[in-house]
């Protein structure tokens, strides 16, 4: 009786001493304990990542819309607007972000501005293509029943252009999630911090968590946009069904 009690006591001591799977000796890639113990850090990094991504895409949209409208209204400017927005993607992110630092410092703003600019490459073209996909006779019919240009844009053209624009928005969002990791060069990378820290301190569980969450976040936002598009364009569902 006494012996078995003693044995149980030894067993608990041993299990308590067993190293966690993220300790130096084990350094497992997939480690549940890490996710539990560092919960706060992981949630904070994910929240920052999401914040930067959403702000950057919204900034990109806010710049891309007027640019696309200008390009459509003034065909002479179209090739230069498209050319400029395409040229941005040739600037590597590791070069662009530090170049913005003298202007905005080591802040989230720097990353948001940089990534917002990258979104233009995709968004300006997508918005232009979307507006072009509106059939001319629909536009004519709207003008014929008395729509002014502002109402034509908001009530007719934008809703019909939505599918094409959303396709571009999805691409822009997914690549922005991935790019946000580079923000770590200016100390604001969201999940990029987990990747950078995990890599430099040889901490596999942390590195893996950062990488996996990044991909998961990209897929989740993509799915969200698909659902939003379905809700926003009920007429397309009716047609396909």
């Amino acid at each position: 009786m006494g012996v078995t009690l003693l044995g149980a006591g030894v067993a608990t001591v041993v299990s308590a001493r067993e190293p966690k799977c993220y300790s130096r000796d084990v350094n497992a890639w997939i480690c549940g304990d890490y996710w539990v113990d560092r919960q706060d850090e992981i949630i904070e990094a994910t929240a920052t990542h999401l914040q930067i991504t959403v702000a950057a895409v919204l900034l990109g949209l806010a710049i891309a819309f007027p640019l696309a409208l200008v390009a459509r209204g003034l065909p002479r400017l179209e090739s230069s607007v498209l050319g400029m927005s395409t040229a941005i993607y040739t600037v590597p992110s590791l070069a662009l972000l530090p170049l913005l630092v003298p202007l905005t410092g080591l802040t989230k703003t720097t990353v948001v501005i940089g990534l917002g600019l990258y979104c233009l490459t995709i968004l300006v073209r997508a918005i232009l293509d979307g507006l072009r996909s509106v059939p001319d006779d629909i536009r004519e019919a709207a003008v014929g029943i008395g729509y002014g240009s502002a109402r034509l844009l908001l009530r007719v053209e934008l809703p019909l252009a939505l599918p094409v624009m959303m396709a571009g928005l999805r691409v822009a969002t997914v690549s922005t999630v991935a790019l946000t990791t580079i923000g770590t060069v200016v100390s604001e990378g969201g999940l990029g911090y987990l990747i950078a820290d995990g890599q430099s301190t040889e901490f596999n569980a942390e590195l893996f968590a950062g990488a996996v969450l990044c991909v998961a976040l990209a897929l989740a936002l993509d799915l969200l946009l698909v659902l939003a598009q379905r809700l926003a364009t009920p007429w397309r569902r009716a047609v396909s069904a």
């Binding site: 590791l94 490459t121 690549s175 790019l179």
Partner: protein
């Protein structure tokens, strides 16, 4: 800014040990090796699938997956793995093999997607008339589909080239080779900031040069010259497919 330009114009900053020249050569070497590997692996598969008209879902989804995986994350994982690890690899420098593998991964999607779409989008009428003239499958591919798909195939390679160049800069984040080192070092030390700016300018300039050079090549291989296309597109019965080819910013 002026200091950055002075740094770029100073011969010493190019020729010294681990200077600009060494890093530039490393990065160009990495870029073109990865691109050549990607073309050798991806192009035959994509063209073959396009010719058969199969595997479209794969060809399209592969670029969606590539887009969702951050370059930095993939590089960091590769460097930490047993293989490829971060050992020096020939002329490619430290963590050279890991960098090459990551670059290959990011060069494949645009090459495969564009080549597949290029062949697939060849007008069915053109394909039918070629068959009607008695062309075999191989003749159809070499004499009709490939020439018409060429502009898109080349545009895929061009997108890949610029993306790979940009991605190669990231290698320095995991202690790898390339010009990213100048940038990182410069921005890590306040008194060397101008060097960082100089590096960033250099990388962006070369990206632009690569893009323009690739655009010239793309124009040269187009079977229907630009002027003919706009002036008399109605009369031209056989036009190469065109697809919106905006690149993805890749970090």
């Amino acid at each position: 800014m002026i200091e950055a330009i002075e740094f770029l114009l100073d011969g010493e900053s190019w020729t010294r040990n681990n200077g600009l020249l060494e890093q530039l050569v490393q990065q160009l070497l990495l870029t073109f090796t990865a691109l050549a590997l990607a073309v050798a692996v991806g192009l035959p598969i994509a063209l073959w699938l396009g010719h058969l008209g199969r595997g479209g879902l794969l060809a399209i989804n592969i670029s969606n997956i590539g887009r969702a995986v951050p370059t930095f994350a993939l590089l960091a994982v590769l460097v930490r793995l047993e293989w490829p690890g971060n050992d020096p690899f020939g002329p490619y420098g430290r963590a050279g093999l890991a960098t090459l593998v990551a670059l290959l991964f990011f060069a494949l999607p645009p090459i495969i997607t564009q080549a597949y779409v290029g062949v697939r989008e060849v007008d069915d009428g053109v394909r039918e008339s070629a068959r009607g003239m008695g062309m075999s499958g191989a003749q159809l591919f070499w004499r009709v589909e490939l020439p018409l798909a060429l502009p898109l195939v080349v545009s895929g390679v061009r997108l890949a080239l610029v993306q790979v160049w940009a991605t190669a800069t990231i290698a320095s984040l995991v202690g790898g080779p390339g010009l990213g080192n100048v940038i990182q070092l410069g921005f890590a030390n306040l008194d060397r900031r101008s060097e960082g700016i100089a590096g960033a300018i250099l990388v962006a300039l070369i990206a632009l040069v690569l893009e323009l050079a690739a655009a010239l090549v793309q124009r040269a291989v187009n079977p229907v010259p630009r002027s003919a296309r706009t002036a008399s597109s109605d009369q031209m019965s056989v036009l190469p497919p065109t697809v919106n080819t905006a690149g993805d910013p890749v970090g």
